[in-house]
Subunit: 491 residues, 2 copies
């Protein structure tokens, strides 16, 4: 990987300095107190699925890999930091010679993930493991948010293609670019974002805007001009003036008078406003009667999973959807609240677990260096539960396994005929990338397969069953022994 | 301006291909129909203020300038487009030799702006004026959204400093970087985003995270270590274990035992969780009794304008705020719905206005090449109304002016003792940049001054008065004459 490929943005750019300033003041402080090299373990995890859903779709590992592979402070960066008058020369020298040395594990992209489990774990000198916090969170929070939203919207479409159309309303350029990438991971079949096709080999598509129609003297003339240029991909936008009184009649006239003599079939019509259910039913009937049963109806007006579910249940006749602002910003819940917490340090080679307590139980962290096992039913291939264990615990899935609810510990379940999958993969070994990121289309396929392994009660949009994320006996005991040490703070 | 400075991202990047694919299919179609050079006028405008507010703060003109100054298709871009098998060689040749030739006008950054008025107007060959749609919308929509949200949050803080802390929850890297820029324009005093200071000369700051506290054997040891490194800027995070039972007593102990003998005063404490009102009142009292009346209390827990208003009205003792995810994503309403519409074309040198009609009256556009006058009361300097007129109308503000409500036309108002300000500036002349973008800190100051010229009824958070955006007589008549032509579509 070269710098020119950094973050896959054409021409490259260096985002090493995209970092919360406190990572730098802490870094300087760690060195100043001679603990900069102390080995620390950090987990990135989230606490709640957006939109009340049952799971999230992990995304962003490729960009995280590219970021971590290209950390580099320039002379200009060092000079700027020096000008802040709060950093020691020793720290600036450290940054100048910065070489990433951490081990990093992550859940591969496309996996369904659940609250409380580590999505990324970093082990290394605390100065470094701390420094990368901002970009790990920024990268995974954003892409997981959009992949998760896209997955909801695509499931609502029930197999109909969904195209991502949101660049113009995204929150910044990367919001559009990586948002398009994440939308594809979640299930979208294409994007309107051209640069995303160049960068990620995901299909870009698009036809015309209302301005095309307005430019010509009449809607008919505009359709005619379009059809002559694109006879083999003729999709006409029919709502500039009035769908039923103008757009559709003009489209059919052009299909009959222009396209047919040229020897082509039309591909579709697009409707971008108005009463979707009413209009699509009417249009379908009129198209069918005109002999255009194969012409698709494409809808693209402020859609999300709820509106799509609604119009389909009302019998709207839609073949595919273009989804914009509500997908690219995850409008209904635009924040993915991933956090990055210290979970252990090493003292003389021994791992000492650390806990972050809180008066809010949800905010108490799972201590220690951990891994995640996903447990599947052998007969159905469905996921039963995730089990978070300490890193050195092994599950022998030839033997029965008893799991229990970490809060209501009397709720137990004995598993037989199951298999266990180790969910996290190592992506950096002592600072060197050691994982091959798959192409986006493969991640999309994987996400679909893994999502289908969830019970439909977990897939539900509203009030899904809570998927079990349990702790191993050893981890549960460790956590509670640490909590007991702080019990005087709760009286 | 050089390419290496493009979009001000360090090391540069080329976002020419960040474009909705349909801009390209239309471009090819315009050329194919021999109308690519037809002169067209497009307006960017929005229809509704987010969060039910009374106005927005314009932002993004500098990045728009940089984008338009650096449009360039590489060989690789041309090859990629050729591989799509839908573009003529003539079009690819056009792109290869692309030279931006449009005139562009914009409302300068920091101005309060209102629904329905053009924020950006582009005049030029339709192929080009169409092409830039995606990036104009993406740039101005994002930055205006965040500047507007920031302005609300900063006004709620009633003069207390507000710091932008949201990078980790932003929607992508640019969401963090340009979000920080926009947050400063809206009124924030600083950001945690380090690279934003380098790029925009806006102050970056930050101290410590909970991980610093956790790393040391005790909270006291952690505070002591910090204080020794940063005696001159000692702000301690006191909520890792328990604010009142542990954090604050330890902080005061360190202030007394470590900092005082070193000859320094502490700067502040930060609280990131819990009951803000209760905790800050208690902390203020304890700090004061310990002789630390000058030590500031900084709060940073999921804040927005409503929570800030709430806790201040309850008497919380807060000196400054750190605001994260709810600002950087404009969480309460994360979409800014700016649109870009064709409003006129030239035929034989004459401007022919175009209108986009809709069954939804709000979506009907204002036709023609226009300008905006902001009308101020001479005696109070308060803004009375905006008047959108045709581009060649001049207001003689030495004479009385009658304005009227464009919907309820019988509501009229006669202005005397007023002055008129032409709001839009030309930023490109025949493709050449002709406007000097001011530094961000100047834009911030300007935004504050211009906002203070609005009546407090417009500034209100909930149910503000609607600021008048009227049409000149000439424009109103033009619009209605065009609408009447389409009246048969509404029967």
């Amino acid at each position: 990987m070269t710098n020119s490929n950094f973050l896959n943005i054409k021409n490259g750019r260096n985002l090493t300095m995209l970092v919360d300033f406190y990572e730098l003041t802490m870094g300087n402080g760690y060195l100043d107190n001679n603990v900069g090299d102390k080995i620390a373990y950090f987990d990135m995890f989230f606490r709640r699925v957006p939109d009340g859903g049952g799971y999230c779709i992990m995304a962003g590992v490729q960009q995280l890999t590219e970021y971590l592979s290209n950390l580099k402070f320039t002379e200009e960066d060092i000079d700027y930091l020096r000008s802040k008058n709060c950093f020691d020369e020793r720290f600036l020298e450290y940054l100048k010679n910065f070489k990433f040395e951490c081990d990093v594990w992550a859940v591969p992209e496309g996996n369904p993930v659940f609250p409380g489990e580590p999505l990324v774990t970093v082990r290394g000198p605390i100065l470094q493991a701390q420094f990368v916090e901002t970009m790990i969170l920024l990268t995974v929070n954003h892409q997981t948010l959009i992949a998760t939203k896209s997955n909801r919207i695509c499931r609502a479409a029930e197999g109909r293609p969904v195209m991502e159309f949101g660049s113009r309303r995204a929150q910044g350029y990367d919001g559009a670019i990586y948002g398009a990438r994440s939308a594809i991971i979640g299930g979208c079949t294409a994007t309107a974002c051209t640069i995303a096709e160049q960068m990620f080999k995901i299909p870009a598509s698009g036809t015309m805007a209302h301005s095309w129609i307005q430019l010509f003297s009449t809607e008919y003339e505009a359709f005619k001009a379009w059809t002559k240029t694109y006879p083999d991909n003729c999709i006409l936008l029919v709502d500039t003036y009035n769908v039923l009184k103008s757009g559709l009649p003009n489209a059919i006239k052009v299909f009959d008078e222009i396209l047919k003599p040229m020897g082509y079939r039309p591909k579709g019509i697009r409707i971008d406003s108005g009463d979707i259910t009413y209009l699509t039913k009417k249009c379908r009937k009129i198209l069918d009667e005109a002999g255009y049963e194969d012409v698709k109806i494409i809808i693209s007006n402020s859609l999300d999973e709820h509106i799509i579910t609604d119009v389909l249940s009302q019998g709207a006749k839609i073949d595919s959807f273009g989804v914009g602002e509500r997908l690219i910003t995850a409008r209904s819940e635009p924040v993915f609240g991933g956090v990055y917490k210290l979970v252990a340090v090493e003292e003389n080679g021994e791992i000492i677990p650390k806990i972050k307590i809180s008066e809010n139980e949800e905010k108490i962290t799972n201590p220690g260096f951990k891994k995640i096992y996903r447990l599947f039913d052998k007969s159905t291939d469905k996921a039963i539960a995730d089990l978070i264990s300490l890193h050195d615990e092994k599950i022998d899935d030839t033997k029965p396994l008893e799991i229990f609810d970490p809060v209501h510990t009397w709720k137990k379940k004995k598993l037989t005929n199951y298999y266990a999958k180790d969910l996290m993969v190592k992506i950096f070994d002592k600072g060197n990338p050691c994982y091959k990121n798959p192409p986006v289309k493969e991640i999309q396929k994987f996400a679909k397969e893994e999502t289908e392994k969830l019970w439909e009660e977990v897939l539900r949009f509203e009030n899904p069953h809570t998927y079990y994320v349990d702790l191993s006996n050893k981890l549960w005991n460790l956590k509670h022994s640490l909590l007991n040490k702080f019990s005087d703070l709760y009286d």
